[in-house]
Amino acid sequence: MKRFSPVTRNLIRKPGRTVALVLLTALLALSVFSGSIVILSLRGGLNSLENRLGADVIVVPSTAKSKTNLEQMLLQGTTGYFYMNREKLDKVRNTAGVEKASPQLFLASLRASCCSVPVQVIGFDQETDFTIRPWVAESCSRTLADKELAVGCRVSADVGESIRIYGVNCPVVARLAETGTGLDTAVYCSQETLQMLLDAARDLGHDLKISGSSEDVVSAIYIKVRDGVDPQKVADDINVHIRKVEAVSTKGMLTGVSDSLKAASGTITWLIAALWILALVILFIVFAMMVNERRRELAVYRLLGMSRKMLSSMILKEALLCSLAGALCGVVLGAALVFPFTTLIEHSLKLPYLTPAAGTILLCAVLALAVTVISGSAASMRTARKLSRVDPGTTLREGA
């Protein structure tokens, strides 16, 4: 025997109203869920960038493009390469307030065998490095030998495969953890390997604008200042005393990213708020319209012996069921929009973007469900109260 409930019958037999309520609550849930995932991912990306940068100051050649290239490389994974004389490294190390300084070399490949686009190659000094080495160590316990590569998680090459760069076959020995930054699209090797690749590129006729040996150049110098020393002061010192370089405080870079993140988060929050207000207003209107539409129907229920409390409860149950169905649809749709299109969102926002852990995502889903169900049900309360007060005798005589 089929179970009978006036609540479910009403929802099924009035599909237009039911679908409208479900869609509205789905919109509420979708906006909350996907909005909070995007905001949390942006925050995660910023934290990740902070952790990965490691350095207080980064020194690059003073050409106008270098600083931009570095930021784009770190945030968006845009490839770039620039070089300065290695003697700058000694001068930087001798600057007051500098505790540690380690060089990095950059190279952009053209159509490496793995990739359809150029990939960023970053060579680091395995003895002095303090930014990439700890990260590589999470995936590979030993140092990288000649030609060996550690790849960022977005590079399409697995451990055991080889990547061909400027004719040199480089085996992949480690795959690095996701950072949500442009660093995920780069490959990492020892300085010696990169010098080898620089030579290979020049042998193939590519003009990298290096005069002299590849051993005499560096692309960037990462600096850790001593405790208690202001990194900006060290950067200013370097800019004054060392020619043809530009020292960039990472705090400044992060502040810039943080400001952009705040702006993006603020926009998203306002968007969610606007959607919520609109959806709630429409929900209230839909429920208010129900008062007139269902007055006679509910008067019949009162005549048949339904108490006011039962009537209220029936309307609230209908709202609850619609809200729950809508909330579930909204969360599923939100997930379908946010997760498969993660790369597109990151690419569009041009900010570090790291999807939160599964537990956090689940919590966001539960919160979105709860908030939506409560709001949807609350929107019906006024209508439920009004309709429960319907006088059966008078109402049914109207229009008789």
Binding site: M1, K2, F4, S5, P6, R9, N10, R13, K14, R296, E297, A299, V300, Y301, R302, L303, L304, G305, M306, S307, R308, M310, P392, G393, L396, R397, A400
Partner: protein
Amino acid sequence: MSLLELKNISKIYGELKALDNVNIHVDQGEWVAIMGPSGSGKSTMMNIIGCMDKPTLGEVLLDGVDIAKESSKKLTDIRRDKIGLIFQQFHMVNYLTAVENVMVSQYYHSMPDEKEALDALGRVGLRERAHHLPSQLSGGEQQRVCVARALINHPELILADEPTGNLDEANENIVLDLFAQLHAEGTTLIVVTHDPEVADAAQRTIVLEHGKVAREVINENFEAQQKEWLARLKG
């Protein structure tokens, strides 16, 4: 034995007395018609007996209990448990099928039982129309569904307000035959009507005028009518 007693009932709206010191009684198993022109107080009396309203003065004893003093919630419970209501406008829920309209009556009384609801529809000759919506039923069929709905919880009293008001002669006869059947089974019926032919089908008619009981008319032919009805049923 008296099932319903209205003692010195008055319903006063400001200066207007819709009912003025009315006294009536209805015995268990009796079929009583309440007749009167428009404005005579029939509807007011119907609302009071049907626990949809309370009198200003007087007592309403239903099965020995004065329902005039009960709370609104209690009146709802009494209406649900003891009274089956039938209306001129039918008042079916338009998105529920015939059987679901009957089950709704069970839903808040005990538990919906589709088999029992189908049996109730069978009694009124509508089992094969059980899964039709009200819009797919004729006026007479809708009223028969309402009769089934009124009966499903085995109420002590069936209260019908102009039950044939919206029906043609053929359907009116069908509904009156149903009432005759119910009466033969021992159900107490109160039919409020302005139609003398409908009133004549009852055992006794109480005539209201200007909120007072003008007269009571006993139907001397009632037993003969019942025999004729039974003969027609067997034939």
